[in-house]
């Protein structure tokens, strides 16, 4: 077969998380207005200040325009057709796993995330979020012994209001952008984590997000706070059923690292990406930002983005404390009709701050994959440094890769180093590996894993094998 012909026949492995769970949902009105916002707050039994936070955000959102500066074209979400809150009907208080709807338990089982602690991955605590609500959090007690709070954000609002009040919106203000404002108004659930002073969190923390309901948007809200001299590593994973319609996922994640603290945040994003022709799939419009508030603090984002129909996502770090460090390691894979516009922002405010950006984009099929990165040095950021490396890999002739780096410097002592490469997985490379006995899919998987290695090695060990497999599966059959 000729190269073009061979490379054009795209099959792509079936999405194995595409099943739906048949649960009964609480009734909730469709569309959005102030009453709906109030109703969400009411359902969640929230204190007055939280309701106010939401309403303020909603009013701001109403005045804002939906952005369109990114390199993606898609049908805009119909905000008046969405359901902004979606909770399974028989959701009791979640003190014991026995109270969780067996169907939902089964769902997580099927996804490979058992909620029974004895079956769980050793050393990983899980918060399971199903549509709009947190279903269950494992290993809570063990974490509490170390003083670590790990629970759903709804619980945190009830039980640790002073922390939530202090930090929520302090990194991503409600009016930050269109989707952050919407999230601030209607966020349903998400994870909360607080690591006290001088504490190294004894386990990997992780949240598993699942969208089940067809018409609901998922507005997840995550807040992680690491006090002085503390350390925490957190991982989120996500899947969704296959529907012909698009679903909206608009999350806000805020990280706060105080003096000498370190937060490592990893994402394995495998939302349903739509079919070969671009029908269905998740819109993944996410605002993720970390603040290195304290001196010598460090925030590191690692992401493996393989799913979603459209991804717009720029996990960023504000390097406020002197000597603070920001890192962004990303592998973004697009296949078929997927579109990803993703990258990072590194805002250097403190002296001797350092940031590293390693971005690996892999495009196959008729997909489009863009890296967009901003590195900014303020006047006070003496001797700040950034190293950026953006590599793109193309599989086939019908996909696109783009790189948009923006650098702004108000300090002459700041230094930037930027490297970018584009390569194509050629028929010759695949033939070479096949000649050495590897199947075509294994050959592609090996090439792609080799390309992404620098980033994959940053993922927590427990998830590295999964990640490798996921990359392989995602691109299976992407070369005829």
């Amino acid at each position: 077969m000729s190269e073009t012909k061979a490379l054009e026949s795209m099959i792509g492995e079936e999405y194995k998380y595409g099943f739906t769970t048949d649960v009964e949902y609480e009734d909730f009105p469709t569309g959005i207005n102030e009453d709906v916002v109030r109703l969400i707050s009411e359902k969640k039994n929230e204190p007055e200040w939280m309701t106010e936070f939401r309403l303020k955000a909603f009013r701001a959102w109403k005045e804002m325009e939906e952005p369109d500066w990114f390199n993606a074209t898609y049908e805009k979400p119909k905000f008046d057709k969405l359901q902004y809150y979606s909770a399974p009907k028989n959701k009791p208080k979640l003190d014991s796993l026995d109270d969780v709807d067996p169907k939902i338990r089964e769902t997580y089982e099927k996804l490979g995330i058992p909620l029974e602690e004895q079956k769980a991955l050793a050393g990983v605590a899980v918060d399971a979020v199903f549509d709009s609500v947190s279903i269950f959090t494992t290993f809570k007690e063990k974490l509490a012994e170390a003083g670590v709070i790990f629970c759903s954000i709804s619980e945190a609002i009830q039980n640790h209001p002073e922390l939530v009040k202090k930090y929520m919106g302090s990194v991503v203000p409600a009016r930050d952008n269109f989707y952050a404002a919407l999230n601030s108004a209607v966020f349903s659930d998400g994870s909360f984590c607080y690591v006290p002073k001088d504490t190294i969190c004894p386990m990997e923390l992780s949240t598993y997000f699942r969208i089940n309901n067809m018409n609901s948007g998922q507005f997840e809200r995550t807040l992680i706070i690491a006090e002085e001299n503390s350390h925490v590593s957190y991982l989120e994973g996500c899947t969704a059923p296959m529907y012909d319609e698009h679903q909206l996922h608009a999350a806000v994640v805020e990280l706060v690292a105080l003096e000498n603290a370190e937060i490592k945040y990893s994402t394995i994003q495998n939302w349903y990406s739509g079919d070969e022709d671009g029908k269905g799939g998740i819109y993944n419009f996410v605002t993720k930002r970390g603040a290195c508030r304290g001196d010598n603090s460090k925030i590191s984002w690692t992401q493996l983005e393989t799913g979603s129909a459209v991804t717009l996502k720029y996990p960023s770090v504000i390097l406020q404390g002197d000597n603070s460090v920001g890192e962004f390691y990303s592998v973004a894979v697009t296949n078929n009709r997927q579109q990803a516009d993703t990258g990072t922002k590194m805002i250097h405010l403190g002296k001797n701050t350092k940031s590293t950006i390693i971005s690996k984009g892999i495009s196959a099929g008729k997909s489009d994959n863009s890296y967009r990165g901003q590195v900014k040095f303020s006047k006070k950021a003496d001797n700040a440094r950034n190293y950026s490396q953006c590599d793109s890999m193309l599989i086939g002739q019908t996909c696109g890769a783009h790189t948009f780096p923006y650098i702004e410097s108000a300090n002459p002592t700041a230094k930037v180093e930027h490297e970018a490469t584009t390569s194509r997985v050629g028929e010759d490379q695949i033939f070479y590996l096949q000649q050495r006995g590897l199947s075509e899919d294994d050959a592609i998987s090996l090439i792609v894993n080799g390309f992404a290695k620098e980033v994959l090695k940053e993922l927590p060990m427990e998830f590295a094998v999964e990640a490798n497999k996921l990359l392989g599966i995602k691109l299976e059959g992407s070369v005829g």
Binding site: M1, S2, E3, K5, A6, S423, G426, E427, D428, Q429, F431, Y432, L433, Q434, Q435, R436, G437, L438, S439, E440, D442, L446, I447, N449, G450, F451, A452, K453, E454
Partner: protein
């Protein structure tokens, strides 16, 4: 072991005929050398035997151990014991030589019903092979061919051959790019690997290689055909006279350019 019968090959989809009726028989235990001017189709021949998707066999057949392999994918041919040392070995950044080799070895072993090796066993297994081609173990941890010098790439190909122990080795200009010492070492390695049960097809431009590896037969390829075959003396004759005197043969036998 290998039999090519009136093999006609075109570039897939472009209708350009490159091989115009090649006949060749290679038996177990033999070494064949194929020589011929640039662009005569030598590399194409080796790639077609290995199953490169860019080429289409329009007529004729390729038999391996008596069976047609035309319908097999490249990896299936490799599992049967076909090995191609590339004229231009391909770089695979981020994948170490060691990773690839172990995966290759185990995939082929599994398909042949041989025992697979775990990382430690594999490390033991390849020690001798490194020695055979005097390769620095450092190369195991480097990305496949990435940043290798021309000669290092060629040596790496023979190292892979040593590890995979194929039945049929097609070595496409393995000698070009090797310095004088490396040529000796690599030739010596090939001689040691070759035995009663396997066969080697060498593609080369230089008689020099044949001083180290003695072929049983030498073939001259011109215009997509084998126009003359003989024993090792033929190589000496070519060295002396070039290819001009064979031009007539190439045209007499058909419509070659």
């Amino acid at each position: 072991m290998l039999e090519l019968k009136d093999l006609h090959v075109e570039v897939e989809g472009e209708g350009i005929e490159i091989l115009k009726g090649v006949n060749l028989k290679v038996k177990k235990g033999e070494i064949h050398a194929i020589m011929g001017p640039n662009g005569s189709g030598k590399s194409t021949l080796s790639k077609v035997v290995a199953g490169h998707p860019e080429y289409e066999v329009t007529k004729g057949d390729i038999l391996f151990e008596g069976e047609s392999i035309l319908e097999l994918d490249p990896d299936e041919r490799a599992h049967k014991g076909v090995f191609l040392a590339f004229q231009y070995p391909v770089e695979v950044p981020g994948v170490t030589n060691n990773t690839l080799l172990r995966e290759s070895y185990n995939t082929i072993a599994a398909s042949m019903g041989r025992e697979e090796l775990d990382p430690l066993e594999f490390e033991d297994y390849i020690k001798d092979k490194l020695d055979l081609v005097q390769m620095d173990p450092e190369f195991l941890n480097r990305s496949v061919n990435t940043g290798f010098s021309g000669g290092e790439k060629k040596r790496n190909e023979i190292f892979q051959m040593a590890v995979l122990q194929p039945k049929l080795s097609l070595l496409d200009e393995t000698d070009s790019g090797l310095d004088i010492d490396a040529l000796k070492i690599v030739s010596n390695g090939i001689n040691q690997l070759h035995g009663e049960d396997d066969a080697v097809v060498l593609i080369t431009h230089y008689q020099r290689l044949l001083n180290y590896i003695t072929p049983d037969y030498v073939h001259v390829m011109m215009g997509g055909k084998i126009v003359k075959s003989g024993e090792k003396e033929l190589a000496l004759e070519l060295e002396e006279k070039g290819y001009d005197w064979l031009e007539d043969l190439a045209t007499v036998n058909g419509e070659a350019k």
